[in-house]
């Protein structure tokens, strides 16, 4: 049995919150640079260069890359041989609260009925999965809602098949147009149940940008959808060119014989994600 103090969790989450806002991870930066280098539209290429410059300024000046520092989704993989000394969820929320305060990050969370800002950016959405081992892995995904609002979920009939699912993904991205700040990372969940599909779609965003899924057949679908999205030519910020999306990540799960759930979680180019292993 390994013991982790709640205060250690709070400190880890605080650090993740602050650094996620200022420093884009190498995977998304490299994807933006690669897109800039292959882009054929001069306007789109200029905008991609501007986004790379923006990331550099954010990191050097310790200012958020995007003012929408998001609502936080936090995935915790908790080893079953770990004992948390204190309240795990409270510790996580406290880390978010301190991080958003000390880091000069925008507090964007409000009561859904009154729309009154909570003033602290908490509560965060926290998912805990228990797994074998004695480690605690915390993955932090703050997400702006320009992109989150363009996401979608559809319960397709099995007769629609995978072609129907792919069509829904492409349609969701194309209909989003310039709103979610393309170039996008498109997270997809196919299968399971209503909530499982949405959960997979979001969780797939944690994969390094462009890293193919485990299944070869699914990896082919990811490539196919990415090409179809980019052939539509909406491009960076909807200003044209071949880079509407940087990557499509698809996670799958077996489903009911009567069902074909498809969830599409759209992520903007300011794809902030950080993780720590305790």
């Amino acid at each position: 049995m390994k013991t982790i103090e709640a205060s250690t969790i709070t400190e880890a989450v605080r650090e993740l919150a602050v650094t996620a806002a200022y420093d884009l991870e190498p995977d998304i930066l490299e994807a933006l640079i690669a897109a800039r280098d292959r882009e054929t539209s001069p306007l789109a290429q200029s905008v991609l260069e501007l986004l790379v410059m923006n990331a550099d300024i954010a990191s050097r000046e310790k200012i958020p890359a995007c003012q929408d520092t998001g609502i936080c989704t936090i995935f915790i993989s908790l080893g079953q041989d770990v004992r948390i000394e204190g309240d795990l969820i409270k510790a996580v929320q406290e880390g978010v609260r301190i991080g958003y305060d000390e880091g000069y990050l925008r507090k964007s969370v409000c009561d859904v009925i009154t729309r009154k800002n909570t003033g602290t950016n908490v509560p965060a959405v926290v998912h805990v999965e228990v797994e074998a081992g004695d480690q605690c892995r915390i993955r932090f995904l703050p997400k702006g809602c320009g992109s989150e609002n363009m996401s979608g979920l559809k319960m397709l009939p099995p007769s629609a098949g995978i072609p129907g699912a792919l069509e829904y993904i492409v349609e969701t991205v194309v209909n989003a147009g310039p709103n979610p700040c393309p170039p996008l990372v498109v997270g997809v969940g196919i299968g399971g149940t209503f909530e499982k599909a949405a959960y997979m779609a979001k969780k797939s965003l944690l994969r390094p940008v462009g890293l193919a899924g485990d299944r070869e057949d699914v990896a082919r679908l990811e490539k196919d959808v990415l090409n179809r999205i980019n052939r539509e030519g909406r491009g960076v910020h909807g200003l044209g060119g071949g880079n509407t999306a940087l990557a499509v990540h698809i996670d799958t799960f077996p489903t009911h014989i009567a069902s074909l759930p498809v969830a599409v979680n759209i992520q903007c180019h300011s794809h902030r994600h950080k993780e720590i292993l305790l």
């Binding site: 539209s41 001069p42 306007l43 290429q45 200029s46 905008v47 260069e49 501007l50 986004l51 410059m53 923006n54 990331a55 300024i57 954010a58 000046e61 310790k62 200012i63 958020p64 890359a65 995007c66 003012q67 929408d68 520092t69 000069y104 990050l105 925008r106 507090k107 964007s108 729309r115 800002n117 003033g119 320009g146 609002n149 147009g177 310039p178 709103n179 979610p180 700040c181 539509e232 030519g233 909406r234 491009g235 910020h237 909807g238 200003l239 044209g240 903007c268 180019h269 300011s270």
Partner: protein, 192 residues
């Protein structure tokens, strides 16, 4: 910074625009034009719009006369001590669509955000000779450097959603909707 300072580094020349707009300037701009905005702009997003329209419903006077002005859809992150502002890129504009025609009726000349506008807003812009511009979404750190001063105008309790007055210098944007009814996003989607 040279990329945006010198037109040679960017795809196309930036038109230099002073704010508030001089006579005929809004009418002269066309969809797809790149502009550098310098001068005064007002800001507002969801809460500010809701409250401005509630004031109009009650026949109250607005905290600022919007005639001839530009309204920027932004909810900045807090400024560090010694800085003017935090990150301050555009928010998605369609959420303001319900409110925009009423402000255009008051003479608001331009709105600045990101993403598409509704047909109703586009019609209203044509009717009132107003334009819509897109700032570069997700470039909040870079854009913050073009904001030279910030003053609170109204709705302080709305936090990041309060209404501010910005003084900006060479703030980059693209014209999406012009006064003759063009929509740059549509033109791109149509492959023109």
């Amino acid at each position: 910074m040279s990329l945006l300072r010198a037109s040679s580094g960017f795809a196309g020349d930036f038109k230099i625009i002073d704010l508030p707009f001089g006579n005929g300037v809004v009418e002269s701009l066309r969809s797809g034009d790149l502009v550098h905005l310098s001068g005064i702009m007002y800001t507002g997003r969801d809460q500010t719009h809701r409250r401005l329209c509630a004031m109009l419903d009650k026949g109250k006077e607005l905290p600022v006369n919007l005639a001839g002005q530009l309204l920027y859809y932004v909810g900045p992150s807090p400024a560090r001590p010694g800085r003017v502002i935090g990150a301050a890129g555009p928010t998605t504009s369609y959420r303001m669509d319900t409110y925009t025609p009423r402000l255009l009726e008051l003479g608001l000349k331009a709105t600045l955000g990101k993403g598409s506008r509704s047909m109703t807003v586009r019609e209203s812009m044509k009717q009132h000779g107003a334009i819509y511009l897109a700032a570069f979404g997700g470039a909040g750190a870079l854009l913050s450097q073009r904001i030279k001063s910030v003053d609170l105008v109204a709705f302080e309790d709305a936090g990041p959603e309060a209404m501010f007055r910005f003084e900006v210098e060479e703030f980059p944007a693209v014209v999406i909707n012009d006064v003759v009814g063009n929509d740059f996003y549509e033109q791109i989607a149509a492959g023109s």
